[in-house]
């Protein structure tokens, strides 16, 4: 159940640099930087309280999980990064791991694996942005000042949380009225993830954003990207001749504004919007985009993301076996067809330790079920899209088809 409830979930943010950097220097700087933040060595505490909380040590233990790899063949880089993304944390007190990779062509990567309880995707990028500031300040004034190291527990106002829980419950019941299309989760305890990265250059990205404006409207990139992904997933189900059902996408949304994130960097501030599409309308892009926009509007108007955020605090006091009963019972073992996240802004400076940053992308381990996720981010005028899937959920040929479908549809080649 840990994978489903996010309690055991992790992700990885990768920075690709145009030149090599010294692993020993990087490790030294990271060690000093991390020592400013005892929160990263925290653990779940409960003591005599009914609700668990984040228990922080008085000072950092100075432990840094850092590994350095050399990649003689450029083609092996993705495999190395995928292995890093699948490496579990050593114990319950470890929530960050750093991997450095130098390639034969003198490029380098910094991959930071992070526990989703400590950081979410934007928080992780901002944390690395703070590391850049720390390097710039030459280890000067404490870089941690101004960052909220211990957020309020938010475990007061119980009635408000129970009412939010009731609203979420009603939403789940409404969504579960229609049979849900989802890929069957493979048996077995091995839970490794496979990844594919689709990179769009600046010209292609501009084309995608123009398509988004023309099809979905001003500042409506997310609904447009979701519609394209839904159509590509539909193609996969069509090929499998899978049983009929509607698609349900769980889309993560950051509840912080770009101003809030400067202080609320740690812990998870993500909530969800849910988008349902009956298979009959998925092939009609215009109708699909309209449906997604209206669902987004209605959910924000009725406060769904806020209710989910509030109600999720209740999950802290519920045992994992309770969630298993809900998922196996009313939800019939299915939560969503896939998960989608889009990070539209990036807080990173152009260089890290003197090396120009060429690219940034995320490699999340998606909750299981559904075990299938799409993560897009915008960096330096370019769009990246990562497919993340539980090994065994799809065959390599199916991932190839999905990758091609996504690329063609994003660029409008599917007409």
């Amino acid at each position: 159940m840990k994978e489903t409830t996010s309690a055991g979930n992790m992700s990885q943010v990768v920075i690709v640099m145009a030149s090599a950097i010294s692993p020993s220097e990087l490790q030294k700087h990271l060690g000093r930087f991390i020592s400013e933040f005892p929160v990263v060595n925290g653990s779940i505490g409960r003591d005599i309280n009914i609700c668990p909380y984040w228990k922080m040590p008085g000072k950092t233990e100075g432990k840094l999980n850092f590994t350095s790899h050399t990649c003689p063949d450029e083609g092996d880089l993705w495999a190395v990064l995928s292995t890093c993304a699948n490496e579990p944390f050593k114990d319950d007190r470890e929530h960050l791991a750093f991997h450095h990779v130098n390639t034969k062509s003198q490029k380098s990567c910094l991959a930071m694996s992070f526990d989703h309880r400590l950081l979410d995707a934007r928080g992780a990028e901002s944390f690395l942005g703070l590391f850049q500031q720390y390097l710039e300040s030459n280890s000067g004034p404490a870089v941690s000042s101004g960052v909220a190291l211990s957020g309020p527990a938010h475990l007061s106002e119980w009635m408000k949380k129970f009412l939010a829980g009731r609203n979420v419950n009603r939403k789940i019941i409404a969504l579960s009225e229609h049979p849900l299309a989802a890929l069957p989760v493979p048996d077995g305890k091995k839970k490794e993830f496979g990844y594919r990265l689709i990179r769009f250059d600046q010209q292609e990205t501009q084309t995608i954003y123009e398509n988004a404006y023309r099809t979905a409207g001003y500042l409506m990139e997310s609904p447009y990207l979701l519609s394209v992904i839904m159509q590509a997933v539909d193609g996969l189900f069509e090929k499998r001749k899978a049983e009929q059902g509607s698609y349900l996408a769980a889309v993560s949304v950051d509840m912080r504004t770009s101003e809030d994130i400067k202080q609320e960097l740690f812990f998870n501030h993500v909530s969800y919007l849910f988008f349902q599409a009956h298979r009959g309308i998925v092939n009609n892009r215009k109708e699909l985009v309209h449906s997604i926009k209206m669902q987004m509007y209605d959910q924000i108007k009725s406060g769904v993301p806020r209710d989910i955020m509030e109600a999720s605090h209740l999950t802290r006091i519920a045992p994992l076996s309770f969630f298993k009963k809900i998922i196996d019972g009313p939800l019939k073992g299915k939560i969503a067809t896939f998960i989608f996240s889009h990070v539209s802004k990036n807080p990173l400076a152009p260089e890290l330790m003197g090396a120009k940053i060429e690219d940034v992308f995320h490699m999340p381990r998606v909750p299981v079920p559904p075990g299938l996720g799409f993560f897009s981010n915008y960096f330096n005028g370019r769009l990246n899209l990562v497919i993340s899937y539980l090994e065994g959920l799809m065959g390599d040929d199916e991932v190839d088809v999905l990758e091609k479908e996504l690329t063609d549809r994003m660029l409008g080649r599917d007409k």
Binding site: Y213, G217, Y218, L219, M220, E221, S222, P223, V253, D254, R256, T257, S258, E259, D260, H290, K293, M294, M296, Y297, I300, K301, H342, S344, K345
Partner: protein
């Protein structure tokens, strides 16, 4: 409502949605330069519906209507 009243109300709402001081919300800057994404944009549309009783999500608005807070206020002023 005067154009100025509408503009002031929009600034208040957008400052609240973006967690910015009202003084730092310029009425002459495009929305995407205010750090607003799809989610924030829909929140603004919901704010407009709740405040001015106008639903704009499918009203055929384009970039020029949202060029700035000032141009949006002018658009709303004509509609009200």
């Amino acid at each position: 409502m005067t154009l100025q009243d509408i503009q002031n109300t929009l600034v208040q709402g957008i400052a609240s949605i973006t967690s910015k001081d009202q003084a730092s919300v310029s009425v002459d800057v495009p929305f995407h330069e205010l750090g607003i994404d799809s989610l924030g944009f829909v929140e603004i549309l919901v704010f407009i519906e709740k405040t001015f009783k106008l639903q704009l999500i499918e009203s055929g608005l384009d970039k020029k209507d949202f060029a700035t807070i000032h141009s949006l206020a002018s658009f709303l002023h004509k509609k009200l």
